[in-house]
Amino acid sequence: MAFEYAPLIALLPLASFVIALVAGEYLPKKGGLVGMAATGGSLLLSIWAMLRVASGGFYDETLYTWVAGVGEGTLSLSFGLLLDPLSTMMLVIVSLIAFLVHMFSLGYMNDEGETGLPRYYAGLGLFTFSMLSFVFADNLLMAFMFFELVGLCSFLLIGFWFREDAPPSAAKKAFLVTRFGDYFFLIGVVGILATFGTAQFAGEGAFPQLAEEAIVGGETLFGFPAGTWVTILGLLVLGGVIGKSAQFPLHTWLPDAMEGPTPVSALIHAATMVAAGVYLVARMYGFYALSPTAMAIIAFIGGFTALFAASMGVVKDDIKQVLAYSTISQYGYMMLGLGVAGYVAATFHLMTHAFFKALLFLGAGAVIIAMHHEQNMWNMGGLKDEMPVTYYSFLAGSLALAGILPFSGFWSKDEILYEALIAGLENPVLLAAYAMGLLAVFFTGFYTFRMVILTFHGEPRSDHAEHPVPLGWNTKIPLAVLGILATVAGFVNMVPVAELTGADITYLSHWLDSGPEQLAYSTYTATAEEFAHIHHAELTPLIPGAIALVLALAGAGTAVALYRGPHPVAHTDKLGGAKDVLVANYYQDEYQVWLAEGLTQRVARGADTFDQGVVDGVVNGISSVSLLGSGRVRRLQSGVVTNYAALITTALVVLLVAFGIYGGWF
């Protein structure tokens, strides 16, 4: 059996979207069960597809022609499926997280008696559909289209509680900021289609391959040398990535997006929207590997964002805000990994992060239910004894996030930093990116354990914290599953252990190296070395790994030392002015809001005044002049017969004289 059923992976959630939208009111759990069934089906099909790929299968077919062309110059504008190791792995992650989020939502939304649930489950279904379709898209155009739909779904779900003021505003911001990034992405898609005549990721005549041939052949594209043009196109597409993956400077939408329901945050951060950006870079890695400039920019933005966001996470009091900044920071690591040709490392971190971040958000969601929708950590405390399942799973996620041995995050983050270091030893720009990433490790350990200690340890600091609401199975099962995954997922690619023991246990590398040669990890590395000039120095992974681990432990230890005890003190207040800057997020929001509202609105009003005054003024002016003129002329019609007679006589005389002069009578 081949891959005929693969489209169902995405179509099942689409069906659940339609069903929940149309008949959600009348269904058990308001459509939640349908959504669970659909995403569960997707999960099974994804696993099956992954197994097929594992046994040497590969699928790259155009299934639906969106716009067929006639005549010459026809471009292939179509939808198709590309199932290779990368996409099937991502399919499994996405459908798994979506399934668990659906289950968790039964506890978080249904049991809390929310209204509008069919809308909620429809949104989740559409979100899952869009993301899955994006993941297995076989060309950039299809990827863009579902990338945009993912943005729509985030708008719908972030703004779920539309009766309040903040969520619609956050939803608007999320869509608008990512739309700004997608603007560049769209130019990139159009440019790639116009340049190469195809947007296929893989196969004979795929656009990364054509780009490579153009560079090798020294061609000139659109008036630029091929290498420059490829860099321009790559950077344009990168605009969309920066928007969706919340990289500096387009990260500002993500913390606001915490206004959405917490399961939605889990979905957005772990598996769908934010992951989409990084996944896109990995998907078209053969293209980025051609451009040294694009790679360096990716690495630098990634490293910078990792540090930048981690520093802001240190001072947040809202548990979801801490997680939001940690997400930005972790995606920064992935970008850093991709930028230094650490394709496996970045993909690895994408996977482990999906597990532990989903876990952390769902854990935070469990805490928030227990706390009657209180999110400020200073009102929590002492929850560890009341909620053991949540505590231990949350702790597992936190250890993974902080990057502490042997939890999953350690292995993947360590590998990224290792790759960055060995690339950086050959290239100072990458070394700077590495330094920032390394420094961020300390902050990550600090804010993670600050969060854990404040939430779960010490004495309860509010009534709700003393008597938390008990949780149902539908919240505990997802936490348990993800807790296990967050702990063990790192074992699939233990590079330092492999180095130490010589055992061949880097399964993920082998997995990503299987499949067609064009999409294989080793090909990407070779391309990056040849075209992007990213060389890797010889170095054992043990020492860098140890440095990162020590930094993480130092950060975590500092947090534990500062905040332990029954009544922790707000130590970050001692930072003084620096804290104000951090709490205000380096004033990034301010200037972006000023750009979007202050400046643009002012220009718009100016244009409106110009339009009403000058452009329409001329039109109205012409009409006024003719009205005024006619007002004057019509006064001839005085109604007095004598005047008419006089006019006629005068006119006759004038005519006679005129004819006389003209006819030469005089």
């Binding site: 006064r635 109604g639 007095v640 017969v641 004598t642 007679a645 006089a646 006589t649």
Partner: protein
């Protein structure tokens, strides 16, 4: 058919007379406010034309001009009939026959 004859009075004199009568009529039309005087002035102008018709008819020995003069007289009679009718309506509506008073048809 009359033969062209040497007129006792040259045709120029008729023309001068006609022009004189016409100018008197025109002057009346332009200056008089009384509708009856207006009408009379128009009659004068018509008759000035008649004088021309007849004079030229005699000059060229062609009866068409005389026929036209008769037509103009009939027309003038009809015109007076309508004119008097208008004057009556004017009197009824405006309590007078001053033509400058009836200016309801202006802009």
């Amino acid at each position: 058919m009359l033969a062209p004859t040497q007129l006792l009075v040259p045709v120029e004199w008729y023309l001068v007379l006609s022009a004189g009568v016409f100018c008197i009529g025109l002057f009346g039309v332009l200056t008089r406010r009384n509708a009856l005087m207006f009408l009379i002035s128009v009659e004068l102008m018509l008759n000035a034309a008649n004088i021309n018709f007849v004079a030229f008819s005699l000059q060229w020995g062609n009866l068409t001009g005389q026929t036209f003069a008769l037509f103009v007289m009939a027309l003038a009679a009809a015109e007076v009939a309508i004119g008097i009718g208008i004057i009556l309506v004017l009197y009824r509506n405006f309590r007078g026959i001053d033509v400058t008073e009836a200016t309801t048809m202006r802009w």
